[in-house]
């Protein structure tokens, strides 16, 4: 069974709220403190991107099960302007925040699975999963 809860991202306080949600779920699933910090940082980055570039959107945290593995899944969705060149934003050193190891490549590194789909003028959906070891 999947448990899901979502936070609408409208302002910076919502980033804190979704971090808190993610941390709680990560704790429940039994992630250690370092992985908890990694997961919340990833959630934070995704929520911040929505807040900064799309204006508003939603981040959902799910418990995921696959082949007996437990994991945490983040879904970040917005109806913003979309990303024209995904390859470029996935490049190291590109991020508009100045190539500090953060941005989407950072999220990809922090998580085990990462997928992104985007349509211009329609929005972006990013799905990332971290598996419990």
């Amino acid at each position: 069974m999947e448990l899901q809860s979502c936070v609408k991202i409208l302002n910076e306080w919502d980033i804190v709220a979704v971090r808190q949600l993610g941390r709680n779920v990560a704790k429940e699933l039994g992630f250690g403190t370092v992985d908890q910090a990694r997961i919340t940082t990833a959630i934070s980055e995704l929520a911040r991107n929505i807040f900064l570039y799309a204006g508003q959107g939603e981040v959902c945290i799910l418990k995921e099960q696959q082949n007996g593995k437990n994991g945490l899944k983040i879904i970040a969705k917005d109806n913003g302007p979309g990303i024209a060149d995904i390859r470029r934003v996935m490049e190291d050193g590109y991020t508009t925040s100045g190539g500090l190891g953060a941005g989407l490549p950072g999220v990809k590194r922090l998580m085990d699975e990462f997928d992104i789909q985007s349509k211009l003028q329609e929005g972006t959906e990013i799905i990332a999963v971290k598996w419990l070891r």
Partner: protein, 335 residues
């Protein structure tokens, strides 16, 4: 106030707030601080030391001692990301580097030229790129009449773009009809190729000369190339190899004038690229007169040793850092 001076108070505020009630808000602040710290090139050991200082200020319970590390961990996640990004950029850099190395050795094969043997003429040539790929080009061609054609060219600029342009000169030279070795005709056809195929912001200078060992005449034309020297053994003087001509690639209708020299026994023809004369030392550029001094110092040697010695001297003068591709060719009539 400088960001650096505010770090301690910011970190302390975040910490005290968090120790109070372990709120997510403080952890988010810590993550944002982490981003700022990296932006301002604050190294992680400074943060560890700061953490320790702040910890020692308070009487800490076992619990707040342990909680404080949540903040430190949150800050370190940013550094961890930065570290991993650095690692993958390094891997990428290594890949690029080896790709360039392959390209450079390909270029060497493509542009390679061997110094031909001509009776009565000693030849020395050296060409060293400033970076991995050479934007200078030189080539020797000996025709069936024993006449020696010498091409020397220099792209304004260096590195890979320059090297790519040079490959084009090489192909254009290769496709010239065998029976055409008048310097002016060669420059005129190359000029048309360059004009059609090269970016308008890229210019090539070139000098083409032909030495005829039967009548000992040296015929040459120049397309804006750094003038070489003619050394008269009889008068023991150096004179500039004058030659006026527009750079290649500017105007497709350019005509090039031919110049002729009578070469007596012991005379030398010195061709070079501007990487030789624009060799910059602590005291400024070396002058053409200085260069003549270096040639004179070695004048009793075989041309190959002369060019090698001059390169060594100038390399040392520039503290082993070439700023431009370096090409030097010397021909000496021995009999």
């Amino acid at each position: 106030m400088d960001f650096r001076d505010t770090i301690e108070s910011k970190y302390r505020d975040i910490m005290n707030n968090y120790l109070n009630d372990q709120n997510e808000q403080s952890l988010y602040q810590a993550q944002k601080l982490s981003r700022k710290l990296i932006e301002h090139h604050i190294v992680p050991e400074e943060i560890i030391s700061l953490h320790k200082t702040i910890m020692l200020e308070n009487e800490l319970t076992r619990k707040s001692f342990s909680d404080s590390f949540d903040i430190l961990l949150e800050v370190m996640i940013g550094y961890g990301l930065s570290y991993r990004e650095h690692q993958s950029l390094r891997t990428e850099q290594l890949a690029l580097k080896s790709e360039i190395e392959v390209a450079a050795s390909m270029q060497q094969t493509l542009l390679g030229t061997t110094v031909p043997k001509i009776d009565g003429l000693d030849i020395g040539a050296i060409s060293v790129p400033a970076r991995q790929m050479n934007g200078d080009y030189h080539h020797f061609i000996k025709d069936e009449n024993q006449c020696l054609g010498i091409a020397i060219a220099d792209v304004i600029g260096k590195g890979i773009p320059a090297a790519l342009s040079m490959s084009m000169i090489k192909y254009a030279m290769d496709s010239l009809p065998e029976n055409r070795h008048n310097p002016s005709a060669i420059l005129e056809s190359l000029n048309r190729v360059v004009e059609q195929n090269v970016d308008p912001s890229m210019f090539i200078t070139m000098c083409y000369g032909v030495y005829n060992p039967w009548n000992h005449k040296f015929l040459y034309a120049s397309a804006g190339h750094e003038p070489g020297f003619f050394y008269s053994s009889e008068n023991q003087t150096f004179q500039d190899l004058d030659g006026k001509g527009l750079l290649l690639g500017i105007d497709k209708k350019t005509k090039y004038k031919e110049y002729e020299l009578n070469v007596l026994q012991g005379d030398m023809i010195i061709l070079l690229s501007d990487g030789v004369t624009e060799c910059r030392t602590k005291e400024g550029f070396i002058e053409r007169e200085n260069l003549i001094g270096y040639i004179e110092k070695n004048i009793h040697l075989h041309p190959q040793e002369i060019v090698a010695n001059i390169y060594k001297d100038l390399e040392r003068l520039q503290e082993f850092e070439l700023r431009d591709d370096f090409t030097l060719i010397i021909l000496k009539r021995t009999e």
